[in-house]
Symmetry: C3
Subunit: 139 residues, 3 copies
């Protein structure tokens, strides 16, 4: 049985959902884990992780539009505004989605469902580089 | 130390919260794990997982009613509508709840609190069969 | 490779976000795990876990205010009201945040990002004692 941590760097051009499933599968291939568990942990409070439909781009678009409406910028209740109008909404959106995900590994493959993709969700406008810690335990 | 994956098939009659705690405990009994960690991963984007109160049915009902009101069908912002009025709300509800859960195992038992039950949350009307991957690491 | 469970007791004076990062690091020091994964599981349905910004108190305050507005007390749709006006909102708030968190361990340290703290989020007024199960797998 092995347990290891690796760093996954992700560069993004702005807010939105960015699929990283391909990157994760590449990593997994190199790790030679037959059966186990992959845990992803994003080291940020204004970007998050999500597993959702990756087939039809309209589903991804609607998730973004819906969450942007639920958590708008310039809400009168915000007191944490020094870092920009997109900062506090980013923290709230991250709170409502995931900081970590755990996906079983079977036959050297992530056991994702047919329509599932893994996404990094960038909630800020100016940030470009995000870091995810990939933990794998298995044999 | 062992690490294993198993498939849990769940058949549901329609939308709602379905408790699977009993099934999981049955599985655990067969696995002979004294101490460890059980991770559940649902392989779908329009059904999700939840741990919540399983004692009073009114709590379960209110969770469903509240989420249905927050994420109604036929919202004018939806563009992903080809698969039915319940499809995009299902993706959003899944986004707001969990695709995976991790529960420690101690003394061959899931360490759930007194009032905690594990539920599959079906968000669609027509789907009947759902699949959860159960990963267990322990000794 | 070891896998162990420990109990973390947290006493809180009322509703709000309480940082437990320091407690967890203390625990980790005693465990002598070089590399691995820490999973936290809260055994309650009206308190939850969150990883969010721990630097500026205004961010923490805004998260609380925002969630309190989204999930108010005395909503006409609630039927689960026997245990007090703060009970059903507590279940919903717990549903929208996390019952479990998994954080990789590297060089005997939790790999939290610069601005990340781990919080217990108490959603009820009267409850004082909460229990978290800390599972660690590693070497």
């Amino acid at each position: 049985m092995v347990i290891e941590n690796h760093i996954v760097d992700v560069e993004v051009p702005g807010p939105g959902l960015y699929e990283i499933t391909g990157d994760l599968n590449e990593r997994l291939k190199a790790l030679q884990i037959e059966s186990g568990l992959m845990t992803l942990f994003i080291q940020h409070t204004s970007a998050s992780l999500l597993i959702q439909e990756n087939a039809d781009p309209s589903a991804k678009r609607d998730l973004e539009v819906w969450l942007n409406r639920l958590v708008p910028e310039n809400d009168a209740i915000y007191s944490h505004v020094a870092e920009g109008a997109d900062d506090m909404p980013a923290h709230i959106k991250a709170m409502l989605t995931a900081v970590n995900l755990s996906i079983p590994i079977s036959k050297r493959t992530l056991v994702l469902g047919t329509w599932q993709g893994v996404f990094l969700w960038e909630h800020r406008r100016a940030t470009k580089k995000r870091q995810i810690v990939l933990n794998v335990v298995g044999r």
